[in-house]
């Protein structure tokens, strides 16, 4: 390692399972944004999922095992960054309580302090006020995903960076802070209710007349994109990191086919 890399903050990227499986471009966008902001990014191979499917189904044992495995894989880094408010919230807010009273308690707390969601990390920790992207611009509307908003206080940060891109116009939707109805396994356990909630969401999205819907969580995005597509809407859906990283040209929007 040369001196330069030593001074750079060393980031362990928690890719998140949905990004890993469904939309790797969000992971590459995250890497690009972090590197542009002067970080070294590494991707520990011993990661799978944050454990929420188990944790939120009442299966503490599996959730705790996954938590320990994630902590082991990531505790050597200066920071742990995830392109998802929901997964970052799990790592930061729920691992400590999950492992409380076990031999991992202290490690979980130290780990928790290093965890950040991608966009809030760029703004709040690295002090970014703009991004280098010179994307296509156009009108976008931003959905505040629940965990990011209410557990981690992410609201202004993505808007701030989006506003720094020339040609991007944010058209706020009504009820941007209301759940999209995804809720992890909720959307398949209670599909009728989930559908009703996402229908209300897509109506708010359509009403803005924006060309593109953005958010910071792939689960919510897949839910909203899937509904919009079923409804025949032309609105494009993307993770906010792709726009911030200026990747719209080489990456089709969600559902736009593989590369």
């Amino acid at each position: 390692m040369n001196e330069d890399t030593i001074k750079k903050p060393r980031i362990g990227l928690f890719v998140t399972c949905l990004v890993d499986l469904f939309r790797p471009s969000v992971g590459f966008a995250s890497v690009r944004l972090l590197e542009e902001a002067g970080c070294t990014v590494e991707v520990p191979m011993a990661q799978t999922c944050c454990g929420q499917p188990a944790y939120n189904s009442g299966d503490r044992e599996d959730a705790a095992a996954i938590a320990r495995q994630t902590i082991e894989a990531f505790e050597e880094f200066d920071y742990v960054v995830a392109p998802s408010g929901s997964c970052a919230g799990m790592l930061k807010k729920h691992y400590p309580s999950l492992l409380k009273g076990t031999s991992y308690e202290k490690r979980a707390e130290a780990f928790s302090a290093k965890v950040h969601e991608l966009v809030s990390f760029l703004v709040d920790v690295l002090g970014a006020t703009s991004v280098a992207a010179a994307g296509k611009g156009g009108s976008v509307t931003y959905h505040d995903s629940c965990s990011g908003l209410r557990e981690l206080g992410i609201r202004e940060q993505p808007r701030k960076l989006l506003n720094s891109i020339e040609g991007v116009e944010i058209r706020e939707m009504e009820n941007a802070d209301v759940c999209c109805g995804f809720g992890g396994t909720f959307c398949v356990k209670y599909p009728d209710i989930s559908n009703k909630i996402v229908e209300e969401k897509t109506a708010c999205i359509e009403a803005t007349g924006a060309q593109t819907l953005l958010a910071g969580d792939l689960g919510c995005l897949m839910n909203m994109a899937g509904k919009l597509h079923r409804q025949g809407s032309p609105i494009k859906v993307r993770h906010v990191a792709e726009v911030l990283a200026g990747m719209e040209d080489d990456t089709p929007a969600i559902g736009g086919g593989g590369r």
Partner: protein, 481 residues
């Protein structure tokens, strides 16, 4: 009340298909939310008030036995009676004994969720005593033979045209040309019908928003004034309240009142805040001759010290359901018992058992909006998760769910195997979708694709691509167990 929570899914589906209900819910939610927001924004210290309200209840619950005893003494000292009821049946029998001793034929009632919890109306009717609900919302649903769908707005699931129809059907003694198009005219009409009842009733039954240990008083807050008439006009006033309603002092009560109405209806204060302390004293111009308090436990004391302890801070303001997307979608009746919405999803399993109400804590996206508005800072999603844990421990969730989860967890706990499996599955899935980019249906994904399309994976997994890009894997390899 019969527990219908096991039929939650079916009831939810019916609710979603019920146009009248959907129309009513659409109106209700926007009103509550904007009013609360406005009143909270107008009070910069609201967040501090939440914290102090919470602290008051935390302190009280930590010394609940002492405060309950102190309260009982004060009630007795002011000439009232306290009846301890461990179960719903105990409470019903206590009410009945009082009614019998008074030779009561008719009782008037102020709005009370506790009397719903103990299913008092049905019980009294069977015993030949006629309960008359005097709160407009309660009166309406009594006419319709329904139960409340919201803890502060019992008839929230109805549109005013439906109520007008009910009134015209039942109030046949009133002139036909009367105007019933506005909520105010409906209230006026109900008042006209109800007024004589206050004078014929022998017993007036109310709930309590709080019980004050310092003075032995009970407090009710209402917007119609019906509660006052219910408790002052009949000869006997019976308060039915659960044990966690206690607060130490008047000062504490007034602190909590400052967050209650703002959270509930967005009012600074409800229109009427009425304190009652004992029966009429010599020289008092009005008031009941007898004053009884029935203190109901019904499972609450067994919540103390458990992971559901904090639920006992609830002041029944309804803010959690007013902000809940699931409640908005299906309304209160789908929950199948007395308490709907997020607070019901936590409380119902505590009171009736999670085996009978397992859907309630599961039917949540954990969006956290309830907790963010709860004036008592109750961690509702966390407690719903605790219920899911209890269900999981007892093997109560459906087998398919358990197997699916077990299968997934097996891989999720073994990163190397997980990578291998996903690196085979994902490109296959991506290839299956071809250039379309979407699945309209997919085996095992029916829950998803019934209502939405599933975007296909882009191509290979991120991990595959990253490894290919950077040659050797970065970071430490975790041991697969």
């Amino acid at each position: 009340m019969e527990i219908q929570s096991p039929q939650f899914k079916e009831k939810a589906r019916n609710a979603l298909a019920n146009e009248q209900l959907q129309r009513a819910m659409g109106k209700a939610k926007t009103g509550f939310i904007s009013k609360r927001k406005k009143s909270v924004e107008a009070l910069p210290e609201f967040e501090d008030l939440r914290s102090s309200a919470r602290a008051i209840k935390d302190h009280t619950l930590a010394h609940l036995d002492l405060y309950l005893e102190a309260y009982e003494e004060k009630v007795k000292a002011s000439g009232g009676h306290v009846h301890w009821a461990e179960t719903a049946e105990d409470a019903r029998q206590a009410v009945l004994a009082i009614c019998r001793a008074a030779g009561a034929r008719t009782v008037t009632k102020g709005k009370s969720m506790i009397t719903e919890e103990i299913a008092l109306n049905d019980f009294l009717e069977k015993e030949g005593i006629r309960p008359v609900e005097t709160d407009l919302g309660e009166y309406i649903i009594q006419l319709r033979g329904e139960h409340p769908s919201h803890i502060i707005g019992p008839a929230l699931h109805l549109n005013k045209e439906q109520v007008e129809e009910d009134f015209r059907r039942v109030h046949t003694q009133l002139p036909e040309e009367r105007d019933l198009s506005q909520p105010e005219s409906l209230l006026g009409e109900a008042r006209e019908i109800l007024r004589p009842q206050y004078f014929t009733a022998d017993v007036g039954i109310t709930g309590a928003n709080m019980l004050i240990a310092e003075t032995g008083s009970s407090i009710i807050v209402t917007n119609e004034g019906n509660g006052d008439l219910t408790q002052t006009l009949p000869r006997i006033h019976v308060v039915v309240a659960s044990i966690e309603k206690i607060v130490p002092t008047l000062e504490d009560a007034s602190q909590i009142l400052r967050v209650l109405a703002r959270s509930a209806t967005g009012q600074d204060m409800s229109v009427y805040t009425t304190l009652s302390t004992g029966p009429r004293r010599p020289g008092d111009p009005d008031g009941p001759e007898e004053y009884h308090v029935i203190l109901l436990d019904n499972g609450r004391s067994s919540m103390l010290g458990t992971e559901f302890h904090e639920m006992l801070r609830c002041i029944r303001c309804g803010a959690c359901m007013n902000h809940c997307p699931v409640y908005h979608a299906v309304g209160g009746h789908a929950y199948g018992w007395v308490y709907p919405g997020p607070m019901g999803a936590v409380l119902t399993p505590s009171l009736v058992g999670v085996d009978k109400s397992g859907h309630l804590p599961n039917a949540s996206t954990f969006c956290g909006r309830c907790e963010s508005v709860c004036p008592m800072q109750i961690p509702l999603p966390r407690m719903m998760r605790h219920w899911r844990e209890r269900e999981f421990e007892r093997g109560l969730n459906p087998a398919t769910q358990r197997y699916g989860l077990g299968f997934w967890a097996f891989f999720a706990r073994r990163p190397r195997l997980y990578r291998l499996a996903t690196s085979l599955a994902i490109p296959t899935l991506s290839g299956l979708a071809g250039r379309r980019g979407w699945f309209r249906s997919l085996p095992l994904a029916g829950g998803w694709t019934r209502y939405r399309d599933l975007p296909a994976p882009q191509s290979r997994t991120f991990m595959q691509q990253w490894q290919a890009r950077s040659g050797a894997p970065h970071g430490r390899e975790g041991g697969d167990r």
